[in-house]
Symmetry: D2
Subunit: 312 residues, 4 copies
C-alpha cells in the first residue's frame, strides 16, 4: 500500500493541521483531496493508507457528509482522534490598513462564522468566495480583487502577509474534532482512554426505539459523548444514529453493549475503537469493570455445571 | 442418599397431592413434616432426596416462609413445578344433615377461605381448629365435638365420611403452585417450556434500583411471571425480590440476563431452572433467540480480530 | 355510624395490639371478627367506623387475603399505619417446668414460626392447634390437654400463667405492619411523612409492562416501599401489583404519578394516602418538589399564552 | 413591524424556494441576507416579520449554526415548516457542449455534493467557487472564466442559460427542511398534524441523563423525529439536544411532556409548535389522547375530594 495520507486540502487547512498531529503520517506522502468522499475512497481503494476527516463542529463543512460516507463505505475504520482549535485571522498584503478593506475573500463557511466581526469592523464590505480556507489568503498574492482574507489562525507566516486582526471567529475557543480513517484491520490497542464509534439503524418501531438503544449503554454504565440522528434515507421518519461511547471494544462492558446493540438493530456499523484525543479516562463503576464481568461469567458457569455456590 | 421425599403432611394435604404428581417420587418414601423449613432442612442435610413446598397462593400458609427459607438455605435448587386445584368439601359422618351442624372443625387458614359459605349456610356455627386439612376430617372419627369438617376436595373417599357440600371455597378455581426442591446439582435439561427462579437483593440506591433490575429482563425480551418484594431484614427499607422468569439458564437470553443481574445486584440466589407445570412455551422475538446471540458473538469476534464485515 | 372498630380477635392478638395504637379507637367499641374479609365488610357496610388489618409479614395469615379484599371491596380507604413487634412467649400454668411439657397448644401459623425453638427445647412434643394466638394460652385454663402454649409476648399477664421462655420466634425482631381502613372520604391531611397505597392492573402486554408502570414513579423520583405481584385471577399470567410509594396524593409528584398510572393501567385502585408509622420523611430532589411542579406549570402557561420567556 | 421576510439569498437559492411556500410572505418584502444569524437577528430586532432558515440536510450549510442561533437568541419562535427538494442542474451559456467544459463555477458545498457526477463526466475540470448557488449560474453571464455552473434545479429559466445535465447531485431525492421563524407570540393553532421543537440541556449527570430525557417522551407515547446532540460549549462533555417531537403544545400529552422536561432540565428552550410540512397525523394510542388525560384528572380530583370511585 502506498505510504500516503489523504486530507481536505490544500496545505494550511484545519484538516491539514490535524494531519500534522498523526505520528505515522510523518514522512509519508500527504495527498490533498477535494471532499470527504474522495478521502475515504482513497482509503477504501487502497490509494492511501489513511485519511483525516472532520467529524464534529467543522468550519469547513462536510460533517453530515462524513457520517453518511462512513455509513456507506465498507471496510474502513477510525483509528485515531485529533482536536484542532478553530480560529481565524484577518490577513492582508503588507501595508494594508483595516480601513482600506472593501472586499474580503473567504471560504463561505468561514465567512459565515466571522460575520459578527466583519459586519462590525468593516461595514459595507463585499464577500469574494474562495474554494478553501487556504485558497483565500493565497489569492491575495495572485489578485487584488480583495484587500483582505479570512484565514486559519497562524497561516499568515506561510505567505508574505500581515495579520490585521486575530481571533475574529464569532465563537472563540471552538474546536473541531478530526479522525484518522484507515482500512479495517486489527483494532488499535486499548489505552484506557478510548472511544468507540458506531452507526446504528433503529428498528422499525414506535416511540421508544431509541430508548431501547440507549438502554444498551445505560444498563452497562457507558457514557455517550456524541449522539446524532441521521435520516436513513429510504423512507421519511426512519433514522440511524451516529454514536460515540467512552471505552474500547476490548473493554468487557463495551463488548457486551455491542452484542446488545447488534441484536437490537437491523444494521450496526462499527466505526472503530481508538485513543481519545483528550486522554480522558472514564470512571468505571465497580459494577462494570472487566473483573465484574469475569466474576459474573464464572458464577454462571458454576451454576450450569452444578457446582454449588459459595459465599452466598 | 435415602430415597425419600418430604412434604407438609399428613397424607391428604394439598402438598401431598402435589407430591403425587412427581414421577421420581413414585415408590420412594414420603416423609411428612410440619413446616416448610423442616422440609428444606431435610433436603439440605441429605435426609431426603427432595421436598415439595407451596410457593404461591397457598391455602396452607407458608409462602413467605418458603421464599425466606429458599433465600437462607444454601445448596438447594428447584427442579420441578406442579399445580394443584384448591377446593374444599364440607364433610360429615354418614347420616348427618347440614341443618344439624353446630361445630365445624377446620384448619384455621382453610376455615378463613370458606367463611362466605359457612356464614351463609350454617349461621351461628362454632369453629374447632385442626392442625391440618387432613386432621380436620380425620378428627370426625375420633370425637363428636364437631359435626362437620372442612376438607380438601376428594378426601372424603379415604374415610367413612359423606360430602355435605362441595366447592365451598370463597374463591372457586383457585390453584396453588408447588415446587420440587432438591440439592443443587446439574440443572434439569431444557425443555423449551421452562421457568427460572431467582432471589435478587437490590443495591442500596435511590428510586430506580428496581427499574434497573427489571431492565435486565426487559432489554432481553424476557417475561416475568412472579415478582414479589421481601424485606431483606437487616434494615428497614431494604428489599430483595423473588422473581420467576420465562426460560431456562441454558437459553442464551436467560444466561445473558443472569450475567447482567449478577453484576447489578450485591447478592443473587439462583433457585433453579425447571420445566413449567403448564407446559407453556414463551414466544421469543427473533431478536432474542439463541441464534441471534450466536450471530452477535460471531460479529463481535470478527470485529476484534480484524476480519472486515460482510453484507453491511 | 356506630362508633365501632373491627379487628381480628379475640383481645390479645397482634391485631388487637395494633388497634390499641389507633387514637380515635379509644373509647369506641372494639368488634372482634374472624377474618379480614369480615372486618372490611363491616367497614363497607357501615357496621364499623374502621377496621385494623395486617398487610405485611403477618404471623396470623391473611396478607394476600387482605390485598385481594382491598382490591375487591369498593368505597374503603387506608387512613393509618401501625407497626407491632411480633414476638412469642412459651407460657404455662404456674409451677409447670419446661421438662414436663409434652403437648404445646398453638395457632398453626405461630407454631410454624417457633419450630426451631420447640424442636430443640421440647423434642418429641405434640402440637394441639388453637383458633388464634389468644385462644392458645386461654385454653390452658380450660383444659389440661396441653402443658404449654405459644402466646403473643406479654399476654401472660392477662391470665394466671407463667412465662417458660420468651422471644421464642425463629425470626427475632420481626414486625408486622397493620393499617386502619375506613370508608372512603376526605384523604387524611398531608404530614410530610406519608405513604400512598395502590393496586394497579398491568395492561395486557409483553415484557416491559411492569417497567412502564415503574417508570411512572422513577421519572418523578418516587421511592417504592412495597411491590407485590398478585394474579388478577381471570386468566393465567395476568397480574396486578400492590404498591406502596413514599408521599401523599397532595404532593405534586405523587398526584402527577397517579395521573400517569391512571392513563397507563386499565384499572387502578387508590387505597389511600396516610401518615407513615415510622415517621420517615423522604428526601425529595429539588427536581420533584411542589415548587418545581408549580414553576414548570407557570412556564408552560407562559409559552402557550405568548408571553416571551425570561431568563433564558 | 415592517412587512418583510428575511432569507439566505439571493433570489433563486433553495431558501428562496422555501420562502415561496410561505403564504403570509406573498406580497411582502423579501429581504436577502448573508447567513442564518443575520436572518434571525432581523426577526429578533423587528426588522423583519419572519425569516426562513434551513434546519436539516442543508446543501447551503449552516444547520448547526441554525440550532446554535435558535438556542442563543431569545424571543423567537418557529411557526411553520417547509420542504424543498434539493437537486442540481449543470447549466451553461447556450451552445456550450459538455465536452468543452474545463472550469465549473459552484458554491463549495454544492460542488462537494455533485462530485461523483463531475469527476466522472468532466475529468480534470477545475472548480471556481461562488458565494451562493445563485451567484454560480449568474456569474456565467458576467465572466467567461467558467464554462458551466452548478445551479439549483429549475433556475436556468431565470437566465439565458441551457441545462447540460439535470439531477447531478450525488444523493437523488434529497430534501431540505426549512422553518419559518417569527417573534414569540401566540402559538399557531393546533391542526392535528403538528410538530414541536425544543432545545434541552442535559443535567450534569452520569450515563443515563439522556435516557431520563427520552423517557419523558416515551412514557407519553410521543414520537421523536429529530434528535441531535450539540456541545453546550461551556465545558467539554456537556451536551444539549435539539429535539423535534410529533404534536402540538396544546395536545395534552405534549404539554405534560414539556412539564416533565422542564422539571428535568436546567434549561429548556421551546422553539415552537407548528404545522408539519408533510401533513402527517401521528397515531395516538388511546392511552395518550386528550380524553385520557382529562379522564385521569377527573379521577384524581374525585379521589382528593373524597367522592367514592365508581365502576371500580
Amino acid at each position: 500500500m502506498p505510504d500516503a495520507y489523504s486530507y481536505l486540502g490544500p496545505a494550511g487547512t484545519f484538516t491539514w493541521s490535524a494531519l500534522g498531529q498523526v505520528p505515522q503520517a510523518r514522512g509519508a506522502e500527504w495527498r490533498s483531496v477535494h471532499n470527504v468522499g474522495e478521502a475515504l475512497d482513497d482509503v477504501a481503494s487502497g490509494r492511501s493508507r489513511g485519511a483525516v476527516i472532520a467529524v464534529e463542529n467543522s468550519v469547513e463543512g462536510g460533517v453530515n457528509a462524513t457520517h453518511d460516507a462512513l455509513s456507506r463505505i465498507p471496510g474502513i475504520r477510525i483509528s485515531g482522534e485529533y482536536l484542532v482549535p478553530v480560529d481565524f485571522d484577518l490577513v492582508a498584503r503588507p501595508g494594508t490598513a483595516l480601513a482600506e478593506v472593501r472586499v474580503v475573500v473567504a471560504h463561505p463557511v468561514a465567512y459565515a462564522q466571522c460575520h459578527l466581526f466583519l459586519d462590525r469592523e468593516i461595514p459595507g464590505h463585499a464577500h469574494l468566495p474562495a474554494t478553501s480556507n487556504v485558497a483565500a489568503p493565497a489569492s491575495l498574492q495572485e489578485s487584488d480583487l480583495a484587500q483582505a482574507a479570512v484565514a486559519p489562525a497562524g497561516i499568515a507566516g506561510r505567505y508574505p502577509l500581515e495579520v490585521l486582526a486575530s481571533g475574529i471567529g464569532d465563537n472563540r475557543g471552538a474546536v473541531t474534532r478530526f479522525v484518522l480513517v484507515e482500512r479495517a484491520g486489527r483494532v488499535p490497542a486499548r489505552t484506557g482512554a478510548d472511544k468507540t464509534s458506531l452507526i446504528v439503524d433503529l428498528p422499525d418501531e414506535q416511540a421508544g426505539g431509541l430508548l431501547g438503544l440507549l438502554e444498551q449503554f445505560a444498563t452497562r454504565g457507558i457514557n455517550m459523548s456524541l449522539l446524532q440522528s441521521r435520516p436513513i434515507g429510504d423512507a421519511l421518519g426512519r433514522y440511524r444514529f451516529v454514536i460515540d461511547i467512552d471505552g474500547h471494544i476490548e473493554d468487557e462492558r463495551i463488548a457486551d453493549a455491542l452484542l446488545g446493540v447488534k441484536r437490537f438493530s437491523p444494521r450496526v456499523v462499527f466505526l472503530g475503537s481508538y485513543p481519545r484525543a483528550d486522554g480522558h479516562r472514564p470512571e468505571v463503576s465497580s459494577r462494570f469493570t472487566d473483573a465484574a464481568f469475569v466474576e459474573a461469567r464464572d458464577w454462571l458457569q458454576g451454576l450450569v455445571s452444578g457446582v454449588p455456590e459459595r459465599g452466598k
